[in-house]
Amino acid sequence: MTVRQWSRLLSGAAVLIFVCGATYACKDFLEAPPQGALDEGTLANQDGVEGLLRAAYRSLDWNGGGAGFEWSHSASNWVFGSVTSDDAHKGSTQGDQAGAQDIQNYNWATGEADDYLNGRWQALYDGVARANAAITLLNKVFEEDPDEISQADRDGIRGEALVLRAHFHFELWRMWGNIAYYTEHDTDTRKSNRGEAVADSLIKDLDEAAGLLTSSPRYGDPGRVTSNTALAFKGKVQVYAEDYAGALSTLRPFRTNNVYGLESDFSQVYTGFPALENGAETILAYQASANDGAPDGNNANYGERLNFPNGGPFGCCGFHQPTQNMVNYFRVDANGLPLALSDPAGWNNVDAEWDAAASAAVAFDPRVDWTVGRDDVPYKDWGVHEVGWIRDVTHAGPYSPKKSAYESASGAVSNVGWVNTQLSSMNMHIYRYADLLLLLAEAEVEAGDLDAARAIVNDIRTRAAAGVQGPVGGPMVVPITSGTVTWADYQVGLYTTPWTNQATAREAVRAERRIELALEGERFFDLRRWRAAESVLNDFLATETAAAGRGIATAGAQAFSARHALYPIPSLQIELSKVADEAGNVENRLQQNPDW
């Protein structure tokens, strides 16, 4: 090349070097931070920690996209605690929510059931993770700036997070038994589920929380847990662990000191009226909110949204239908006491629908009509329940759930969301005082103090008689003596004579528990705790599917057997728990429950 060419080459190169240099000199060129996201530094203060804690509370009900299959996680746990029992069917139509259908029918190994179980598992462990995240950030903030959060709030935050962590683990424990307990110290997310003393961990957390928390909620927020919540949960854990002595010492003070109380009438237990919510009976409730700016209304009891009459004013979806068996169980004898106790052979012999005409002269516990929607009987203040409100009567029978329904006059309904009429701000109980009292009564029975147990049951029965469903056109709640009730002969008798033996007492307490807590997600676990599940549920299957009037919901069910004592661990989670060692051997850290 000539000199001239060289000089041109150099000048060309110079141009290129110049432009390269110009952009490279701009050193920040490759800096592109995430847009519209927060980092931990921004939240390393009390507001941040409180926000993480609130998110843990939010997990008490289904909380959105990240938390697994949407219908399987709810505050009431209706799928796994109620539909699997003799209280309720999945409802709707046969093919609808095949996962819940398989759960109902004890076909727990199908892919659909597996998905449902996985949804619940994911949501609960997400709650655990959210609680632990609050604790972890709390500790970090304290390390960096010990004065940022006051001692009282530090104790409060930790205490609340511990109770929530215990609650989520408790739910995992009573479903799957063999679970791993995760604290803020755990970094390995693939812990083994074998050999874990879950009850001990629960009680340890709850004890610590009870020590950290005060008896009134921080900032007066009714949604927060207190030291009493912690102890109430501890008592429940002790009953589940069959540590009745422990349960007695934990639970007796509640009654002695009137820490909580029963609502004045049963209509006020499940209610959408804001003034009646968070009353004396509430130990822990999911604080539902509607019309709060959430575009899809997801805070308004998402997990419960299928459980409304399909027709009438609700429009959808007709799930969680009470069984004929359960309605029969509300019948009472001449003394106003459960017919099931005085006539164990005959109480369940009615296959025909209990509509208003059929029950007009029949003695019923009035709680039936706060629990079950029956044809021609007023449905809270929505008018009478009609045949057309049921989605498919041939499938799961003629009844609707009622506890999950808010009152028309309560203004609790959401204005947004898919079938917004099924979304409301009505709080769902996770733990209420009547539940605690009946657990205490069980413990008293097991400890031999039958009169103490009887007193408790009578308290509950007294309240049951305090207010009953009123007719259309009048007040929604009327006295049991009002004479305006034409669809049943409401009777609630008290156990006036002492129980003669422990077995009788046990039966009475258990019967009361079924009636009082029907459809509240407890029945299946109670049956299992009482080691009665196999006999009761197989009897239930035999009678429920035999009669045409009762629907065919459980026609495809398999017998309840020993392996159904625990739900199978979701296969996906077992797969995800696999670890391979250096030699390539794969170990399942999560091991499946027996015979699944």
């Binding site: 060309g12 432009v19 993480l52 509370y57 995240a133 575009p295 805070n299 041939t394 699944w596």
Partner: protein, 1105 residues
Amino acid sequence: MQSALQRLHSFRTRRPCFRAAGMSLVFALVLCGTARAQQIEVSGRVTSTAGDFVEGVHVLVQGTDIRTTTDAQGSYSLTAPADGVLVFTAIGYRAIALGIAGRTILDIVMEPAIAMLEQMVVTGYTEQRRADITGAVSSVDMESILNESSASVLQRLDARVSGVTVDKSGNPGGRSTVRIRGISSFQNNNPLYIIDGTPLEESFLNWLNPNDIESIQVLKDASAASIYGSRATNGVVIIETRKAGTTAEPRFTLDVKAGMAQPVRGYDAFLFTDAIQYHEVVKRAYENAGLAVPGHIYGSDPENPSVPGYIWPNDGVNQTNDLGQFGYTEDDYLWGDINQQDRQFMPASRGTNWWDAVFGTGYSVDANLGVRGSTQSLGYNVSLNYFDQEGTAAYNRYQRGSARVNTQFQIGKFRIGENMALAYEAAHGGMGDPEGFAEDNIMGKNILSQPVIPVYDASGENFASGKAIGLGVGSNPLRMAWADKDDGITNLRIFGNVFAGFDFTDDLSFTTRFGFSLLDQAFVNFDPIQPEDREPTFQNGFTEWYQDFRDWTWSNVLNYSTRLGDAHALSVLLGHEANKNQNRFAQGSFNGLITTDLDARYIQDAIGDAGTKNVFSVGGKSALLSYFGKADYNFAERYYLSATVRRDGSSRLGPNSRWGTFPAFSAGWRLSQEPFMQDNTFFTNIMLRFGYGVTGNQSIPAGRTVTQLGGDVQETFYDIGGTNNQVQVGYRQTSLGNDSLQWEENKSMNLGLDLEFFGGTVSLIIDAYQRNTDNLLFDPQQPATAGQQDPPILNVGEMRNRGVDFSLGFQGRVGNTGTWRVALNGAHYRNEIIRIDGVSNFFFGPIDTRFGNQVINQVGDPVGAFYGLEWDGFFENDAAVAAHVTQDGAAPGRLRFKNQLTVDTNDDGVPDEVDGLINAEDRVVIGSPHPDFTAGLDLGLNIGSWDFAATVFGTFGNEIFDVQKEFYVFRLFETNVRKDLLDFSAEVDADGNMTNVGTAKYPRLDQNDAFSRQLSSFYVEDGSYVRLRTLTVGYTLPPSVMPGTRIFLQGENLFTITGYSGLDPSLPAANINASSGDVRDQYRGVDRGAYPSNRVLSFGINTTF
């Protein structure tokens, strides 16, 4: 004299022009003596198939020395024997031999050639002569491309380039999934598109008018692609638009095409359209389960079913036949009152053909007007396009208007110009861009709607749906389509670049180019109330969103090329490139609009329920910075060497690991130029090529190097104060960061052979390759115990693709006036995951079915393998049930699943025995969506004024997981089902013995069978098919009628040969964006109800004036 074409090429980059090695595209060599005949004056005009006059065409009287060359108007004139033969040859075109037969005017249309060694090919910041390329580069036959009618050119690439597959649906303007040589990443396998030098990553390319495209090159291996290092892992598609005409005078072209499309197949081909026939399925299912057959619709006697007068939500118990039995007359009709839903009377249908109700003929028109020309100092092309295509689904339409202005000025040694396109697109209805589930859109609702459901209710004014029990939970698919008619998405796009260059010397030039892509998207959607549904909605809603993308790329390239002596040719390129992109998305929604008027659909407090207003916005930013260089050398066109290196920095990767270096080299040996081959007359070209190189991928979402927190009013906020309507703020970890993210790297090796023989009439290009991608970027799912935040993106493993692709071309003559050509291309690849790092060696696919996840990515299997139980026939009787291990729900006539080896007795990590139970552990890989072989066949024939062309595509050995069987076989949600269930379901007699073993294809109809439908190989079918993609007949009008005019008729997808029992084996990939990016390739070959391909008939005209 240089042809105009050549002048244009040198106009852009000055490169030495080589003597053709393989240019002798001569089939006039075999001469026969011609008898003396009368000499006549012959003249005529040569045009290209694109309508341009072709200058510089050599016209030779066969067997003589008489020759001439066409002028700028394509005209020629010479004296020849009246019975002689004229041979027309031109670089880049197929030679034509034509008998004179006494005619004095012979007008010729010349077609571009298949193998065009002389063609200049844009291969990355520069051009190369086709013959000098040593990497794996395929050129697309642009003429064949124009025989299709889709909006996007991407959809037309299928079958036309070896090693390139395109998955798409029949949705007009739908998404295209272009894959080059298989799949090399767990996320984002889109090729990089370089349009006139400006990079672009997207899956549609609808804004680019296919008529504007001059050439498309596909860079398939790293040695070719690594000059684009940073984003070239998935191959590069280089698209050049038409820059200028060939004539000094402006030439106008007008191309108009009109077409009509119908679906290739409808659900009505295999689902019930008769209500009474459908009832037979329900009847058997209940009877076989020992249950009473529901009588509320078809009457209480299942043996004599009848279609009732009405279906509507009556009391839910009794037969729906008679309004009067419930105290109503038709006058009581009332629509849309939540408390009076049982007054929405719907007349029952004897059999609604839901497919016909929604799908039918869609019409389309594609009009192009262009003007182009070139002078010494100016080249220009200006074009306008209007494209309007109706979908085959009702109320579904895609429209595009686009304008392009490409100009370049040459002022001495200075060049300046721009290539710019402005496009406006509007799409309405259809299926949008589905994310996998069809049950929520018009396709799924077609299956969900039983034949007894009418289209309209008793008033005839409102849509009906299955509101009575036993009719499922579907929505009226026609109503869905109708509701979307005013909804849609619009795109306003400005894409292009401005450039300037300076030629320091003949050898040295500098080019700077500033490219930009600006896109404004707007979306509106109004959902009316749906009171007719089984799960009704009584509240309307309105959503709109806006999104803008701003992306710019600035590149600067110094080009030096020279010849040292006669034999050495060297070119060197140095460059720099900077890229920035950002986007912003804002959405608002709002419910309870008090007017449904089109003009009232805005988010304003007074128009609807102000309390339901919801607004949010999100965005992203990222940047790339690159330096690169390339050197090409050849010795006497015999030995070739090429080396590339590129260094890229990406903002998406870890601060200390964001720079990657991507080297490549290739070598070529043209044996045919060797002295020892000089006597060979058989081969005109033999070239052996080898290349190796590294390319990168960083297409993960921006900002994932740090842990992010956030919150959402309905996922983390909580009403802790118990107010019932005020939530307080809550936070959670939304994603985990990884600050050591590094480049995903693809190391690719390619060995290629190019052959041309029989005087250039046969050509073969064959390439074998291996591509290993390491440091794969992905975010494997964590156990639930870690919480539900997005897992960190990791460099997680390695996968390998090995394959072969080839293209084989033939061309020849038909008599004196015709030519024919056949091009066959084929490809085979095998994808395998080699390694997954971390604690486990697999992860599941991105989407669950209703029954679990049926896709697994695990070591030793390909990406997106199907996973489930192995279907092992039917239980034939109780003895067979007893003989099998425990399988829940086992009964005669139900599906039997295989018990796999799941127990490891000797603790060697390999299961060696079976257990006693069929459960989730028995799942195995049951199929693969990857084809064994794909092939395309392009056929062409020109006889005189007639031209014929056809394209056939075939894919072989791929499997389809037909999730729709959940519905149309298992009747989940009481949907419509396959007609052949009546003939081919397992039958079991009273003794529990199956009576149709051998012919049964489906399990026994059984309402209580919740077991046979478990995810298994029952859902998997062979997805092979062969389809006639296009068939075109064209006729060039005699100049006396209309000069420069061709009319044509074309058909697309006229027939398909397949064994697939579903709707259409040609499945689009779903649009699945996971937390690690675009993961659609983990979900290929899954039929969730795709908008089927279209059978199209079009008529068109091309004119030049």
